[in-house]
Symmetry: C2
Subunit: 285 residues, 2 copies
């Protein structure tokens, strides 16, 4: 009995110390900031350690083996920061690596695919759902599989849009050329009966108004970031590790390359003012 | 005296064994194949080991420190293949890493910047030269420095064109949208008096006809690949390590990711038929 009580006490102490620990959020680059932004909004007390793999961005055209290896290195890095949970704020890594890394890790790891799929299944009326994403995400058919588990009758139409990421990264989000690229990639999908469209890459919410205007009012646009933050809130509550300290949250940003460029970009996306981004040699993890 | 003769003999033996050794050629991805193609054409007896860093492509938006580290890893890998010389078939790595790696290496290492600069200085009549390249290449001002050493009065107008690489990589080289992107990036340069334009990124020769049509007959387009192959020929001859075996050359291709995609792309660029591309975990070097 004494033993059991000791263990309970240790668990309870661990839980208290865990609750103020940060949440790790990672992405191939800046795109995951759209997810971090949503976590900051919905979970304003949670500390965040963000990692952007800017030395190896983009992930969307790379192979499953490498995406798993990159994700494992980043998770090892985030663990050195004592994170209590990890959000893979990258659709490609969520689609290709989440299952593999979940098996190896003792803290909760959430991806963005399941939350996005659920939001789409809830939003659709006719069960015909479009997904725009990277080459790797669409080829994995992960959205289709997860949506069909929730609604076996759903029809999922996926389309890789590989130029969207460089367009956003190079500051063309509001340029006329982006309208044309949207038309090149999505004209066929527009002709279908989809009534719901998932922005299946964390960069794409930065093109949201353009894509929304392109499809018009009849199509509901889903940004998985919103549901991902809600899921995180639920997981932290279930495990009793929400941060209830009442202190203002602190945010740390790390990248594998070009820290200043990242800081500028982050300050354009977040309402939080990013003072500095630190550089990490992620290959050493 | 005996000693000197011994050394001479050793050098001579080394030189014979070196002469059939392959030339290492590397790039961030597929772009360097435009240089490899030119080496195959001009030096048909030279064996080639090609490495494309497809796990970390593109280099053009990344920092000097990382580009040097990536280049050092690749050179260590190529040395395990017994290469007798290395061609950095990537403008970004040539601009940012060539000087650093030349200091550390005992075999000849050539970049593409000096050959491209020399070709432009020879071609220009009015001394006003344009350079299109990646963000990193243009910011380094390496072309400007090298051209000014050859012709102190030359005027060099650089322009970063970051979308050109993803447009080529995603198969849009012949698409109408590429014409528009060329106009967005190069309209200001077209208004200047340049009579010579350097394609300062190994992907850009794949847009050559479009860029040539955009500038018209008055502008001479320089592809540094041609002069780079000529330089390689000269260096091998000077050191007495040309391959004079008379055997048909053999070519090996290695990448850090997505070998099959690379093979397909390579077969679209090279007249040589690439049977297989092998995968290397370059971070281990």
């Amino acid at each position: 009995m004494g033993n059991t009580n000791d263990i309970k006490e240790i668990l309870s102490v661990k839980s208290i110390s865990n609750s103020t620990a940060p949440v790790g959020v990672f992405d191939s680059g800046v795109g995951g900031l759209t997810v971090a932004r949503e976590i900051m909004r919905q979970l304003p007390c949670e500390n965040i350690v963000y990692f952007g793999d800017t030395a190896r961005v983009p992930y969307g055209s790379k192979s499953k083996n490498n995406i798993i290896r990159f994700s494992e290195q980043i998770i090892r890095f985030l663990k050195t920061k004592g994170v209590k949970a990890i959000v893979i704020a990258c659709n490609t890594a969520s689609a290709l690596a989440l299952e593999a890394v979940q098996e190896e890790t003792d803290i909760p790891i959430l991806g963005v695919i399941a939350p996005g799929a659920r939001a789409a299944v809830q939003a659709t009326e006719n069960g015909i759902i479009g997904v725009a994403g990277t080459e790797a995400t669409i080829q994995s058919e992960m959205y289709t599989r997860v949506i069909r588990k929730m609604d076996p009758g759903a029809v999922v139409i996926g389309k890789p849009c590989p130029l969207f990421v460089p367009l956003v990264e190079e500051g063309f989000a509001k340029h006329r050329i982006t309208e044309e690229v949207i038309d090149i990639y999505l004209a066929d999908m527009k002709k279908t009966d989809i009534d719901t469209m998932i922005l299946g890459c964390t960069h794409y919410p930065l093109l949201r108004s353009r894509i929304k205007a392109y499809f018009g009012e009849k199509v509901h646009i889903v940004n998985p970031a919103y549901e991902t933050a809600m899921d995180l809130k639920k997981v932290l509550a279930e495990r009793g590790i929400e941060n209830l300290s009442g202190k203002a949250a602190s945010y740390e940003f790390y990248v594998s390359d070009a820290a200043e460029k990242f800081t500028r970009f982050a300050n354009g996306i977040l309402s939080y003012d990013v003072a500095a981004t630190r550089l990490v040699n992620i290959e050493e993890y």
